[in-house]
């Protein structure tokens, strides 16, 4: 299978996503420059973390106008996989591929630490290698990760099984204390109705190697690769 990693001006986790996809997973990887309009045969497009266009306006707000977004929309509409990590999640909500928005953290500070998230759905191509209710320890590093949506949208996301990751404590309890940024209903990641577009604030690509002391993020990439493996 082939991963396509989008490089927006200001992407800064592109190398990290590339490293995991290429070196750890052993997949074929291409980079997708924001001014281009060709996904070069990518099976799964990753919009990596960073500060696209500096995030000076609103995280992800300018990225939606990048030429590469049009083929990504078409790819998603055709059922192709799109994974947005951190800034990539913010971009996907701005582009309209995912519901809701990401606001400044409740405490108004950038925060970088390990958090725990619970797998709420195991029937997406991104989580199919993980079991329901598994607790992963993943790093976060963001200033605008506070997920918001109106109540009816949140209710719909819940009822349609689109809330994929939820902040929790080490034992998997969803508590206020384990919510690092004020996100509604402790939401850390969601997918679209078609379950082929996923966005999450934590960084699975930063913890996919035992050498880094944590490989809890590896399962997400393995699941993606496996979904393209010959049956």
């Amino acid at each position: 299978m082939r991963f396509g990693i989008v490089i927006l001006p200001g992407s800064n986790c592109d190398h990290d996503a590339l490293h995991v996809a290429e070196t750890i997973i052993g997949a074929d990887v291409v980079t997708l420059w924001h001014k281009e309009t060709d996904l070069k045969g990518s099976d799964c497009v990753i919009i990596p973390g960073g500060f696209a266009y500096g995030d000076y306006l609103r995280a992800g707000a300018l990225a939606k106008f990048a030429p590469i977004m049009e083929p990504i929309r078409r790819h998603a509409a055709g059922g192709g996989l799109v994974l947005g990590i951190c800034n990539g999640f913010q971009v996907l909500t701005e582009v309209g591929l995912l519901a809701g928005a990401l606001m400044r953290n409740e405490h108004l500070r950038f925060i970088c630490r390990d958090v725990h998230v619970r797998i709420e759905q195991d029937d997406t191509p991104f989580t199919s290698a993980l079991s329901l209710n598994t607790v992963l320890r993943l790093p976060i590093a963001h200033g605008e990760g506070n997920y918001v949506a109106d109540d009816s949208t949140l209710d719909r996301l819940e009822s349609e099984g689109q809330v994929v990751f939820r902040y929790c404590d080490a034992e998997g309890r969803v508590t206020r204390e384990s919510n690092p940024n004020g996100s509604s209903r402790n939401i850390a990641g969601i997918c679209n109705a078609g379950r082929n577009v996923l966005g999450l604030m934590p960084h699975p690509e930063r913890c996919a190697e035992a050498l880094l002391g944590n490989d809890d993020g590896l399962g997400i990439f393995q699941a993606i690769a496996r979904s393209f493996a010959p049956a």
């Binding site: 200001g10 405490h107 200033g143 690092p180």
Partner: protein, 760 residues
């Protein structure tokens, strides 16, 4: 075109002395015009010319088997093996950060990163060494918050992890905080770029942000002390744009992948002036520039303003003739300004033109070779004559030692700095093996090599105040210990020398003594100085900071998997104390807790012993004899044991037999040097002790790790009794509470309920 008359007032307002002005006239063979005067004033500012420090910096050892590039370039470079090199440097951004903490600190990060990638190295890690005034001093919480946000705002956006550093508080910084930023990048050995303007006829290309009026005379500001008018200098602080710098970083590194460019230099302090003169100076050439071609942010800018602007995120490139289109296309790709503004000449002059008219012509060589260099008078400060060698202690009784330990762990200096480093991205680029407060040094791997680097920054300014020579030695020795305790072999240092006014003989004496100490230690420990920075005039209303020669050290780990944790990782390991303890409480954290002023000289540093400690720890580690190692520094043995235990396993130790002539306070809190606590499986303890003794070091098994206990005894009598949880509660919660205005008493009384620390 303006024609400001050069009057004595104009000369003085440019910070030039009468002698210096006479020298300018001599070099030019005429009077300078206003633009030329401005150029000389910034080139000859203390900040750019090192006129007070240059002759003394020559005393540093700068060569060694791994040194690829010593001082004089944008950054120092060392060989890290397998065809890879590391470029690193530390720089100060003190004056701007005091005036405008967010932008001051942010542009400090931006500036040092440009120094690294201008060498062709991709930056992979930063450290920050931060010195603040007393935590309850006016403006101080605002400064802490602003500096932390500024570093975060820039470093996080550009995507270079801040992996470590140090933060301390002392009233001597009330009017002058210090923001020292260390950055390191890696490159292939054959892809190092230098700031040289060689090849007559080669184009000179300006790239990056447009030039504005910000930061004009920033270098001059950093070359004078503060007074009540300093607030008015806010407009000289530059404004950072990390997004543009990220684009500039990527564009430059991509550009350097081919051979289109000959030389490249960051426009840092003194902007276009210093970059053009330094590039021509290194190549022995001249440069002709047409200033109307410089991309500008606002209309009506004069040659003077364009040459002196310190707008950020700009680079000057000399390309091969004929390759201009490639260079311009690359910067176009990254949506950056790029403009051919001149060419390299052979007449040895920097000549500036404005719409065809020559507006300045200055010979390149004399501006550096004839630059003022001062052997400023030096005098041992009076306060040192009356400084006792050791702390008279009759006035203090032992008291509750557990509470004393808690008080130290809750102090601004020793409490956890999690509140700070959680605001920094510490894990981007996925190289961070040891995050802050995990090992004695930060550890970053070099992808594709199997190797890792250990990075640390150290200095104890109070020791430097109490004895500048010993303090200089101690900074290097502690850095080397930190590198070794994390499993790295110390290789080289960069330094950032922060002092008061060099025009005061006492400050100059402190400066020279610190340099002598650093030099002696670097020679003994085999860690040459490859780059550095001097920041003078850190004083306000005549009151100078403590001498603060920050040392940034880099070490190499041959195997990325084998770094050493500082923590007790499991129960039933033996705890071994290496080194000996004497009564050295002067300038210690324990002393500062009782009396803020330094009362007596700090600990002595025996360099031969320090070298032995470094070699011993590395040998123990190579033989897989130890599971953890932690250097004893601020707060002494009790604090070091607590740091080994917090968030990990505790210990039960009995210190009977170690320093039996010392009282309990000295035993627990003395800051004697050349000491390390290690843990090892009991079956290996004899080997550990034998290895130490073989190398002339005292070593003693003092106890055992236990799951949650923290008990320090002496001959069976408890001195400190608590739990790892008790230690952690105080240590990890104190800092944000101190920032919120709580006293240490209140923190010790603190409720059990802990709020999320970041949500201050």
């Amino acid at each position: 075109m303006q024609a400001t008359t050069i009057t004595p007032d104009v000369i003085r307002s440019h910070g030039l002395s009468d002698d210096e002005y006479a020298r300018i006239e001599q070099i030019l063979g005429r009077s300078p015009n206003y633009t030329e005067l401005g150029i000389f004033s910034v080139m000859w500012s203390e900040h750019c010319s090192y006129k007070s420090s240059r002759m003394h910096l020559r005393g540093f050892p700068t060569s060694g088997p791994r040194v690829v590039q010593g001082p004089g370039e944008n950054a120092g470079v060392i060989d890290i093996g397998d065809g890879w090199v590391a470029a690193f440097k530390m720089e100060s951004h003190n004056h701007p950060s005091y005036i405008e903490p967010y932008q001051g600190a942010a542009t400090g990060v931006g500036g040092i990163l440009r120094d690294i990638f201008t060498m062709g190295a991709r930056p992979i890690a930063c450290l920050d060494s931060l010195r603040f005034g007393a935590i309850d001093a006016p403006r101080m919480k605002y400064l802490v918050d602003g500096v932390v946000r500024g570093i975060a705002g820039y470093g996080n956006c550009i995507g270079i992890p801040t992996v470590g550093g140090e933060t301390s508080f002392d009233a001597s910084y009330n009017g002058n905080i210090l923001v020292n930023v260390f950055a390191l990048g890696v490159a292939r050995a054959d892809r190092i770029f230098k700031g040289t303007a060689s090849g007559v006829g080669n184009p000179v290309i300006y790239v990056g942000s447009k030039t504005g009026r910000d930061g004009i005379h920033g270098a001059t500001m950093a070359s004078a002390e503060f007074d009540e008018t300093s607030e008015e200098k806010r407009p000289t602080v530059q404004v950072g744009d990390p997004f543009t710098e990220k684009l500039l970083l990527e564009a430059c590194l991509e550009m350097m992948g081919n051979d289109a460019i000959v030389g490249i230099q960051d426009m840092g302090a003194a902007g276009l002036t210093s970059s053009s003169f330094e590039m021509a100076g290194r190549a022995g050439t001249g440069i002709r520039m047409h200033l109307e071609r410089v991309p500008v942010r606002e209309s009506g800018m004069t040659p003077y303003e364009i040459m002196l602007s310190e707008s950020q995120e700009r680079m000057l490139i000399v390309a091969r003739k004929g390759r201009e289109p490639e260079v311009l296309a690359m910067f176009e790709k990254w949506d950056l300004n790029a403009s051919v503004i001149g060419e390299v000449t052979d007449d040895g002059f920097v000549r500036l033109f404005w719409s065809g008219t020559e507006v300045a012509a200055i010979p390149v060589e004399p501006i550096s070779t004839e630059a003022p260099m001062y052997d400023r008078p030096r005098r041992k400060p009076d306060y040192l004559e009356s400084m006792p060698r050791s702390l008279p202690r009759e006035r203090w009784t032992e008291g509750d030692l557990t509470e004393t330990l808690f008080r130290l762990l809750a102090s601004p200096n020793l409490s956890s700095k999690r509140w700070i480093y959680e605001q920094f991205d510490t894990t981007v680029r996925t190289n961070t093996l040891a995050r802050p407060e995990r090992a004695d040094a930060a550890i970053v791997r070099i992808k594709g090599t199997g190797r890792a680097l250990a990075l640390t920054s150290d200095v104890n300014p109070r020791y430097c105040y109490a004895d500048p020579y010993e303090g200089g030695k101690q900074a290097v020795a502690e850095a080397a210990r930190n590198i070794a305790c994390s499993g790295g072999e110390p290789v080289a240092i960069t330094d950032c020398l922060n002092f008061g006014s060099p025009e005061k003989p006492e400050i100059m004496w402190q400066f020279v003594e610190c340099i002598r100490g650093i030099s002696d230690a670097c020679r003994e420990l085999g860690t040459p100085v490859v780059s550095g920075n001097v920041s003078f005039y850190n004083e306000t209303d005549g009151k100078a900071i403590n001498p603060t020669p920050t040392v940034g050290m880099v070490g190499i780990l041959a195997d990325e998997r084998k770094w050493l944790d500082q923590h007790f990782s499991e129960s039933d390991l033996d705890v071994v104390l290496i080194g000996s303890t004497s009564d050295e409480l002067g300038a210690s954290e324990w002393q500062q807790m009782l009396l803020p002023e330094v009362q007596a000289a700090g600990p002595r540093v025996d360099l031969a012993l320090e070298k032995s400690v470094v070699e011993t720890i590395l040998s123990l580690h190579r033989q897989h004899l130890i599971r953890s190692a932690h250097d004893l520094s601020n707060g002494g043995l009790a604090v070091a044991l607590a740091e080994c235990a917090i968030g990990a396993h505790g210990c039960h130790v009995d210190l009977g037999g170690h320093a039996d002539d010392l009282d309990a306070i000295g035993l627990l809190f003395s800051e004697s040097q050349a000491r390390v606590v290690v843990s090892c499986p009991p079956s290996l303890t004899r080997n550990v002790i034998r290895e130490c003794e073989k190398r002339g070091l005292e070593a003693m098994r003092i106890g055992r790790t236990e799951i949650a206990t923290f008990l320090i005894e002496r001959n069976g009598i408890p001195l400190v009794r608590t739990s790892t949880e008790g230690l952690e509660r105080i240590w990890s919660s104190a800092f944000p509470k101190l920032l919120a205005g709580d006293s240490i008493d209140e923190i010790l009384r603190g409720s059990g309920e802990e709020a999320d620390l970041i949500a201050l």
